[in-house]
Homo-oligomer: 343 residues x 2
DNA sequence: ATGAAAGCGCTAACAA
DNA sequence: TTGTTAGCGCTTTCAT
């Protein structure tokens, strides 16, 4: 489709027809005779004609492509989500353009503006860990760009949202730890202001409350970069382990947090679960092979991707402005393994 | 950029100028007076004007976007490559569109044709494990679409290529196993016809030859889907372990192969490295946390992505047809851990 | 049943 | 210095 790019005009010239006749013939218009249709179609096929999608986009004012912004592709949770997104988008003839924020607000703003100016028809986004200001999204949304939030949502913007039942996931994991005899459970969370962080913390607190365990602020640490930086996890754990009354278990509330937590413990020769138990959110398919096999809260990533995409396409293809928005909450799954077993 | 989409025409009308003057003013043309430029620019900024990239693409006959086809995003090796690709492309103002073949030939052909018809300016591709027929790529290449192959390359198509020194990587790992006293080293490879499979097998053979260990065909197994399917790995290992003389070590020649191999061994209660040693290609950042920590051949994924993208952009932006092609071979790194230590 | 022409947003050759 | 116009590839009235 590069150098010689066949156009409708070429076909018209070769066949001694007008471009409009060719166009109509190709689209099977009723006003074109069967003979002409056949002639045009066969010739088009023979020279491998492909309509130029850019010209089409210009005309139709839509690009049939959707943008996806996530913090990291190299994170199982997000790559699984992307698989879900693709599975739907592709079938519907939509292209998927992916951008990573690497948890940087600045980068996210750039990504989003780049995408918007690239004429995407809609946006799927899970905001970066640094994002506290949502103007860039608010503006686009106000301008009419269909947006669906997933995972890390923006509560203030009225549109479809898809999340995991984070509170329930954290709750189940915490209760599980409690039931296994752990009492001083530390909570390692991502950036404080993120919705997912708050929800997971809430689930943790509720589980404690149910067992009448007092909530101890000193057991809660936050890593602003969601565990991306090994040293922030290190700092948090250093602090936790320096506590007069050390925790006997850790609930890590994000993928990187969980694995980097394990990394820290291994490096420091701390046995899991003997010295300290560990459970955490993770979607990696290697968690069962870790040392020890990790108890994880697994999110329905593929489903999140599918669901968000379905919603977005619905928004994009809506005839009239949509005013009713759904917030789909999908269940998390607690997978119990050795890292959190009985004291 | 949706509903109200400001165009140059709007600006022209509002300011009582012609569209061409506006266009030139925005692009800082020397033929426009400073006053007019200022006027236009300020007004454009005030109403948040953004040039329509689709119209630009149509005119310039380029989309400033490149296509990437890999088998799986959820594979660390490829997600790291994509990070490398993005790091370059983004800076140069190129968009990256990613597609996954999921190791299916059919899907790859679809992906590629979809991308080509989407008017990408160039293609970065690592072919699927099923791909033995390269017509779909050959055709595009012949038509003038710039293509750069990485990792799983197509030798017959003359263009830039970037790979890891697969033979050297496999060689180093095999030698390491030999030096640690292992003598019956099995080789678990991906699809036989793939270049990477052959190269890695070659490195393995050479290392054996250097130590005068006879090459034993029965110790070599291939998994056509590159380890994606757990059961193909299972079948291969079942066969290996049923051998009259069992292997005492395994060299797995692909990411999924390595981890699924470990999965199999763990499931079957086979101790690593006591019962059997394991080393393999992997780029996961969790390999050091596995049970046991895995000895891996790590590919310079980020660099592969960078390098391939630089080459592609060079091809895209070349003034004259490029006739000299480079094949960049980057070194792999052997990371020695417990899974392959002394017998 | 087919063709001519306008227009999507933008740039650039040509005029003025 | 600014305006007019044509054209990128395609669809779609409006003529014929």
């Amino acid at each position: 489709m590069k150098f010689e790019a066949v156009t409708i005009k070429d076909i018209a010239k070769a066949l001694g027809l007008s471009t409009s006749t060719v166009s109509r013939a190709l689209r099977d218009s009723y006003e074109i005779s069967e003979d002409t249709k056949k002639l045009v179609k066969e010739y088009a096929a023979s020279i491998n004609y492909r309509p130029n999608p850019i010209a089409l986009s210009l005309k139709e004012k839509r690009s049939r492509s959707i943008g996806v912004v996530v913090c990291e592709i190299a994170n199982s949770f997000f790559s699984q989500i992307i698989n879900g997104i693709e599975s739907i988008a592709y079938d519907q003839g939509y292209n998927v353009t992916i951008s990573q924020s690497h948890e940087s607000f600045e980068r996210e703003v750039l990504d989003v503006s780049h995408m918007a100016s690239r004429s995407i028809d809609g946006l799927l986004i899970s905001v970066s860990a640094e994002t506290k200001n949502f103007e860039h999204l608010q503006k686009l949304h106000a301008q009419g760009l269909p947006i669906v939030f997933f995972d890390r949502i923006v509560p203030d913007i009225e549109t479809h949202k898809v999340t995991t039942d984070n509170a329930a996931g954290a709750h189940a994991a915490t209760r599980h730890l409690l039931e296994n005899g752990y009492r001083r459970i530390a909570h390692l969370g991502a950036a404080e202001y993120m919705t997912i962080t708050q929800e997971r913390l809430r689930g943790y607190k509720n589980a404690l409350a149910e067992k009448q365990i007092p909530f101890d602020t000193s057991l809660v640490k936050h890593c602003t970069h969601g565990g991306m930086l090994e040293k922030e996890v290190q700092a948090a754990l250093d602090a936790l382990l320096a506590l007069p009354e050390k925790p006997d278990a850790i609930l890590a509330a994000a993928d990187k947090l969980t694995t980097n937590c394990l990394r820290y413990l291994q490096k420091n020769g701390i046995k899991v679960p003997d010295d300290i138990a560990l459970a955490g959110f993770s979607n990696s398919d290697l968690t069962e092979l870790l040392h020890p096999p990790l108890t994880v809260v697994k999110q329905p990533a593929f489903e999140i991707g599918r669901s968000a995409t379905e919603m977005l396409l619905q928004l994009i293809e809506a005839r009239r402005p949509v005013t009713e928005f759904a917030h789909t909450v999908l269940p998390a799954e607690l997978v119990i393994r050795e890292s959190s077993l009985k004291k």
